[in-house]
């Protein structure tokens, strides 16, 4: 394992686990914050995995996740702003 894969592992364990805990506790908007942060962490993890495996085509996955998590977070925020 090279440094990029180690960094991806550390992020996936120490970064995604707190987001998961936040996402299953407390109120709706606090959970939304955890979801947004989990999207960012997952994007960075995919970037690092692409670099670590040496497959530059895997970066597309990170790019698509960044765009889609942005759209999803905005939709959730709009929904919660009106109805919760």
């Amino acid at each position: 394992m090279n440094a990029w894969l180690w960094a991806a592992t550390v992020l996936a364990v120490a970064g995604l686990a707190p987001c998961l805990v936040v996402t299953v506790r407390s109120g709706a908007l606090e959970r939304l914050v955890g979801l947004e942060l989990a999207g960012v962490v997952a994007t960075v993890v995919l970037l690092l995995l692409a670099q670590g495996f040496g497959r530059s085509s895997y970066v597309d996955l990170a790019l698509v996740l960044a765009l889609l998590s942005f759209a999803g977070s905005l939709v959730f925020a709009r929904f919660l702003q009106r109805w919760v």
């Binding site: 440094a3 990029w4 960094a7 550390v10 992020l11 120490a14 970064g15 995604l16 686990a17 707190p18 987001c19 805990v21 936040v22 109120g27 908007l29 606090e30 939304l32 914050v33 955890g34 947004e36 942060l37 960012v40 962490v41 994007t43 960075v44 970037l47 690092l48 692409a50 670099q51 530059s56 970066v59 597309d60 990170a62 790019l63 960044a66 765009l67 942005f70 977070s73 905005l74 925020a77 709009r78 919660l80 702003q81 009106r82 919760v84």
Partner: protein
């Protein structure tokens, strides 16, 4: 191990540290506003640091173009999402304030415009009541005992976040 590789590693470690710390901060602090404060640096600072590490490692700009673009997307959309979420939190708090006021119809406060009024207005009203209490009680300078129930009710309202 070239100098470029070392610089890339330092940037990578810094970015990963920022992201992990912001995740732990979001886990620890209470309230949506505080959680938002800790969630914001992960996209705008941590992601950019990791992307800079990737770009330095790649050396040729065209091979790291998609990495840099992805990180730029993160950095641009992060504040937008944070603002939208904070707006949703504010709307929820205002609705809760209005609901709490409707639940206690006997305690209408004259002169208060509505839920958009901030905390200082409430504070001034509380102070006004305290001054009244002080006048009635004469020498009792603290003057908070006569109004303790009301002021406790007001102060116990949870603030935003």
């Amino acid at each position: 191990m070239t100098v470029r590789h070392i610089i890339a590693l330092v940037l990578l470690v810094a970015g990963v540290t920022v992201i992990v710390l912001s995740c732990l901060g979001v886990l620890v602090v209470p309230g949506a506003y505080q959680k938002l404060h800790f969630a914001a640096p992960a996209s705008s600072l941590g992601g950019v640091l990791v992307g800079a590490g990737l770009a330095v490692e790649a050396a040729v700009f065209t091979s790291a173009f998609k990495d840099v673009f992805t990180v730029l997307v993160l950095a641009v959309t992060g504040p937008v999402v944070t603002t939208a979420t904070a707006r949703a939190v504010r709307a929820r708090d205002q609705r809760q304030d209005v609901q709490r006021r409707d639940d206690r119809p006997g305690e209408d406060r004259p002169g208060e415009a509505g839920p958009t009024e901030g905390r200082p207005t409430e504070g001034r009203h509380i102070e006004g009541r305290h001054i009244e209490g002080r006048h009635i009680e004469g020498r009792h300078i603290e003057g908070r005992h006569s109004d303790d129930r009301h002021s406790d009710d007001r102060h116990s309202e949870p603030g935003p976040g």
